[in-house]
């Protein structure tokens, strides 16, 4: 009997550390073995920046953004920052979660311990954010070295990318719990690619005619791109707050759905 009670006491003491950190630790241990994979993940936005921002940028005149004249590379860079935050979050929370859910049966094992579904969801999202955060800082350093950062506000671009990551992680993970087969992931590509290409990442939103512009204004990646762009160029306005509220709300809704769905899927 004594053994039992002391065991309970110990677990109560340990739980002061949020259990979701155990999920993060597990992912860290897995990724520690694939450093190349981790490092090259950082490459994608940098390559896009060099190619489109610099290469194509030589063909494009500087233009106005929120009343400031911005060079094309400085315009594209924050777009890549936000877009890569989204891409990373989507990958981590769709393919990799689905694999763990359906094939590795990882969560079945985890939930056989005192961990709860909400710990799993928070843990996975925390991990995705940490990884994304490291990438964002790296990318900002590249921007700084290339002279593409115009304002101290840029420091806040890191939390802004975390917010983008959080919003997309939560929503995509929620969608993943509804996926029936790998075929359904074509829908993920179908959603992500247009967001990547059309969220005013490579050209100003003024290129869109009339109503189309307002549709784009309502999409999540556009809110992330424009937020990052306002921060790195220093053209911050009250409208920036709209983007923040939008992304926070999106993330919270996603998280609520995930916790419920994981419970329904795993604790039948």
């Amino acid at each position: 009997m004594a053994v039992v009670t002391s065991g309970l006491a110990a677990s109560a003491a340990r739980s002061r550390w949020s259990p979701s950190w155990r999920m993060v630790l597990r992912n860290y241990l897995v990724h520690r073995r694939s450093k190349v994979f981790f490092l090259t993940g950082f490459l994608e936005p940098v390559l896009y920046l060099f190619s489109i921002g610099i290469g194509v940028g030589q063909l494009v005149e500087p233009f106005e953004f929120n009343g400031q004249l911005v060079g094309y590379a400085a315009f594209v860079a924050p777009g890549m920052l936000a877009a890569s935050a989204m891409n990373g979050a989507v990958l981590d929370s769709t393919f990799s979660i689905y694999f763990k859910l359906k094939f590795e049966k990882l969560y079945d094992a985890v939930l056989a311990t005192p961990m709860r579904t909400v710990d799993v969801a928070r843990g996975e999202i925390t991990w995705a954010l940490l990884r994304g955060g490291v990438y964002s800082v790296g990318f900002l350093v590249v921007m700084l070295l290339m002279g593409l950062v115009d304002s101290w506000w840029a420091v806040l671009a890191v939390p802004a990318t975390l917010l983008v990551g959080f919003a997309f992680s939560a929503v995509c993970m929620a969608l993943t719990t509804f996926m029936r087969s790998w075929q359904d992931f074509d829908l993920v590509t179908l959603g992500v690619m247009p967001l990547f290409l059309f969220s005013a990442t490579f050209f100003p939103i003024t290129q869109y005619p009339g109503v189309l512009r307002w549709v784009v204004e309502l999409t999540p990646l556009y809110r992330g791109v424009v937020l990052c762009r306002e921060l790195t160029t220093g053209a911050v306005t009250w409208a920036s707050a709209v983007s923040v509220v939008y992304l926070v709300a999106m993330g919270l809704i996603g998280l609520a759905v995930v916790s419920r769905r994981l419970g329904a899927l795993l604790l039948r």
């Binding site: 290469g55 030589q58 005149e61 590509t189 290409l197 490579f202």
Partner: protein
């Protein structure tokens, strides 16, 4: 001593013919999934980069290799890049999967088929995928009047198949000998993605710093992009075009030979 009646070994064509039903069933179960990546994605790129970004590009002067607009410049580049990506997609996971996960190849090699037959049929499927994806792409762009001549467009179509094989065969060989799939993600990020971005599809490689411009000339995709662009814009430079064909053809040939060698070692050890 025992002797057995021996059927003559079936010919190469016959052995390929025997695999047609397999690849037809593969296509029947995967075509839906490939519609988006094969037919829709390239157009999204054309609209985003060619039309919307292109609206900001100053198309006057010689900055675009003689193309009348940024859209006309980028369209052949995107087609060629699409040939590369389609071929890469069909020769990485599907090949390793057929060896390692669902072991389709192991079942095949227990029949009269040889590894060379298996490689050839699989590459035949890659050609089919590249031809349909790039053929449709070229057709639509052609209908919008982006290309100068029908003959040039038709030749460009065959160039896409050559590009597909120039990438497909070496990647096939690489995949056929792999133990696990982690290098694929890395290959995609350090090979496919940089080639896509820096091989003259989006901007002239002369815009790159000199040192990197040299690297771009080594890129097989640059040879494919430049050849496709010459043909669609009607600006063919004979000797250079020949060089492009030789480079791509050599890659395809060496890759094919290497693929058979690697798959034979993997399956018949």
């Amino acid at each position: 001593m025992t002797s057995v009646h021996v059927d003559p070994a079936p010919g190469r064509i016959e052995r390929l013919n025997r695999q047609v039903d397999y690849w037809v069933t593969v296509y029947k179960r995967t075509w839906r999934g490939s519609v988006i990546s094969s037919f829709l994605m390239p157009f999204l790129y054309v609209v985003a980069m060619g039309v919307l970004l292109g609206g900001l590009v100053d198309s006057g002067g010689a900055s675009l290799d003689g193309a009348p607009s940024y859209l006309a410049y980028i369209a052949p580049g995107l087609v060629a890049a699409h040939a590369m990506q389609t071929a890469a997609g069909e020769t990485m996971y599907p090949v390793l999967g057929a060896v390692k996960w669902n072991k389709t190849y192991l079942g095949m090699v227990a029949t009269p088929l040889t590894p060379a037959d298996i490689v050839t049929a699989h590459l035949g499927f890659v050609v089919f995928r590249v031809a349909t994806a790039c053929g449709a792409f070229l057709l639509v762009l052609g209908v919008f009047g982006l290309f100068t001549s029908v003959l040039g467009t038709v030749l460009a179509f065959f160039v896409q198949i050559l590009i597909g094989l120039a990438f497909g065969t070496p990647l096939y060989a690489y995949s056929a000998g792999l133990k696990d799939p982690t290098p694929f993600a890395v290959i995609f990020r350090v090979l496919i993605m940089p080639l896509f971005l820096f091989s003259g599809a989006f901007f002239p490689v002369s815009n790159l710093p000199d040192a990197i411009e040299w690297l771009a000339w080594l890129s097989p995709l640059w040879h494919g992009v430049d050849l496709t662009r010459m043909l669609t814009l009607g600006t063919v430079d004979g000797p250079l075009a020949l060089l492009h064909v030789v480079v791509l053809g050599t890659l395809a040939g060496v890759g094919y030979w290497w693929s058979i060698r690697r798959l034979t070692r993997r399956l018949m050890h």
